[in-house]
Subunit: 322 residues, 2 copies
Amino acid sequence: MEDLLRYFQRELPGINDFLDKEADQLSGLVRDVAKHIIGSGGKRIRPMMTLLFARAFGYGKDDYHAIACALELLHSATLLHDDYLDDAELRRGKKAAHLVFGRTETILAGDALLALANEMGARYGNSRLSWLLARGIMETAVGEIEEIAFSRNPSLDRATYMEIIIGKTARLIECACRCGAALAGATPEQEDAAGRYGLNVGIAFQLVDDALDYASPTSETGKPEGGDLKEGKVTLPLILLMEDGDEAGSEALLDALKEKSLSEAQCEDVLAQVREGRYSDKTREEAARYVEKAKACLDGLDSVEEVAVLKQAADFVLTRTK
Amino acid sequence: MEDLLRYFQRELPGINDFLDKEADQLSGLVRDVAKHIIGSGGKRIRPMMTLLFARAFGYGKDDYHAIACALELLHSATLLHDDYLDDAELRRGKKAAHLVFGRTETILAGDALLALANEMGARYGNSRLSWLLARGIMETAVGEIEEIAFSRNPSLDRATYMEIIIGKTARLIECACRCGAALAGATPEQEDAAGRYGLNVGIAFQLVDDALDYASPTSETGKPEGGDLKEGKVTLPLILLMEDGDEAGSEALLDALKEKSLSEAQCEDVLAQVREGRYSDKTREEAARYVEKAKACLDGLDSVEEVAVLKQAADFVLTRTK
């Protein structure tokens, strides 16, 4: 992981400075909300992916910050809208924006950040970048809507679950990778390879997230343990448990999730079963398969520093403990 | 107005068909919300402005629908978010989307429509269009946030009022006009002239809207009479009334608006004073001055059909009764 850490240490300050400067130029209330969400941390995975693929495809200029940071702002905008819509209280251990600034400010600041991201992407005179950003937002919004529909009518259907995590998480990471390739003027085939890397890393990232939800204590993640289950979300650890269990038990649990009638005791019981059956670890094993797929997408690339970092970044997804 | 009506009759079906087809390709719940807002009417002023300026600057191709309709979708997306944030019950006489589909679906469908609009604008390989759309959304979101701040701390400051109506309404109409010029490959000076026309028409449009709020019965506008006053919004008719009245009365009214303590009787009294003082008509007279400014921006243009229509469109703003 040495290359990865060194690369992030070198590049993160520039990305954070650029985000701060863009946020400073926003007006009044939008600026406050933007600075709150940008300042609440985050791993800056999306901008780093854009930079890494731009460099991997030979982009030599230093004007990559606007498009890289556009990806972070799109992500921030979706967090603002989601946290409000989910009635979330915390984001990265800090009070969620809508509880600090109010719903109207938060929704409209999210819109303004979406617009700022598009404007930043349009600065290069490269309309492929604008098209990619637009698609990324669209797919993320649709993925979130599908997640809501799924939570109202939960099932054990793995295909639907995969579609949702691809939409709500993996597509924007794919978009970040494609934007890097497009900035470098890569061929469509090269951009597709970058996109597949991002898609697979994104899936692995969300699988690990869903595994962590069942595994890690609140203090590390900043989220309550078993939060997904309590919110009625069906994710892979639960699907794996129910695939191994008896049908009657699964249907009763699905009904309880649908009707939001799961008792505290039932909830603790399910959490214990997931722990005993190691379904969180099994979900991580599934994630590991996507990480391998992601790394295979890098095969045709020159062995520059950035390609080594991209391989380590894919592996790093599996090491997350929060 | 003959040219205007003939032009709209000829072009509106194509614009509506295109909007319908784009909406049909959206997925599930997003499609339903999109079709609800698109199908609820609307004058399609923004897409028509884009088309008219594209033609006025000599654009001969027939592929203008994507960028023209992008402007309508941006407008629709802002209506979805605004109506939810305003707790509006009606939009164009129909039940507001958030009351039909729920808040989450409405907010996320708004995000998806913003993204679709950006994607449609990016189809031309002309990055100026993407930049203009991004700016248009940004300025509209900021204008709305400023309106909220103003409603919490209302004043009689005309400059602030003008800034708000420019942000929340005129900038997107300016954007529509600029997009038409940019599509036609107009010079920066030509695009600026188109933009100034749109800005002035947009200001006039909002002034007439604010005048109508004090003048027209619910059945025609689909909105309650004096709705702005009841919501605590300070608009030009009220500013004009208070500029003519005594300072103590104005301050008491501002305080009541700020504290949302305006009684039904006080409200009726203010409405009667606005009627007696013809402040709604005086607001329309102000609008007429902006219409003249808008028409002056067309002076350098060839006298093609579209320029005649643009002149009539500016005048038409003043004839609105709903």
